[in-house]
Symmetry: C2
Subunit: 125 residues, 2 copies
């Protein structure tokens, strides 16, 4: 298994997630060593949830899994870039395609992203 | 100034840096509140160096500054995405265009990125 440097962020590395077809950045998540291992083994994106303090397969409750097409490692071995096929078209739990659906315009955030599902229908109320 | 949540990573937020024309992910860096403020004020990317523990304007020694074209904020207000014009064509101190110049192929990392400068010529030996 390719070795990453998990020491800089208390056992985690950031993972940038990009749509492999459009290049759109979908989200940022964190991986611990187990999540990295599971991602390599299964070809499905796994992360570590800092709030729930647990390993997490992206899409396990929503069905919106991420099929990993390519993985890049940065110059310091402490960040990875995943190019994924996003099942269900949305990476964000808010229902937007990308977590980065708001753009800074002066002093405000303007919603510019595309909403592709209703969170209540997917996760319940 | 747009408020971000700096509390999750000891006063920092990750900043994903993407070429605004090609969509290529160039690097990941971290910002403290001061770096965020300076980036908004100047339109040039500023970060916080965790190793040097100091505010840092990208390109201040190499001349390879990043002109910020658009900024996106994620759903949790704890990560930003900068779309930049990369002066000098290279974001990585190794001389590669992107820090993510190596791709995972099985058990090895294969260099696939484009090298656009010689670090010794830019930074000295």
């Amino acid at each position: 298994m390719i070795k990453l440097n998990f020491s800089k962020l208390d056992g985690l590395v950031p993972a940038i997630v990009q749509d492999y077809q459009t290049g759109e950045v979908l989200m940022l998540a964190f991986m611990n060593e187990k999540a990295w291992q599971k991602t390599l083994e299964t070809g499905l994106a796994h992360y570590y949830s800092r709030t729930r303090q647990t390993l997490w397969q992206k899409g396990s409750s929503s069905g919106h899994v991420q099929r990993v097409k390519e993985i890049y490692v940065d110059c310091d071995n402490d960040t990875v870039l995943l190019k994924v096929g996003q099942v269900g078209r949305a990476a964000c739990h808010t229902g937007y395609r990308s977590c980065f659906y708001r753009r800074v315009e002066g002093e405000t955030l303007v919603v510019v992203g595309e909403k592709v599902f209703d969170p209540e229908e997917v996760y319940g109320k």
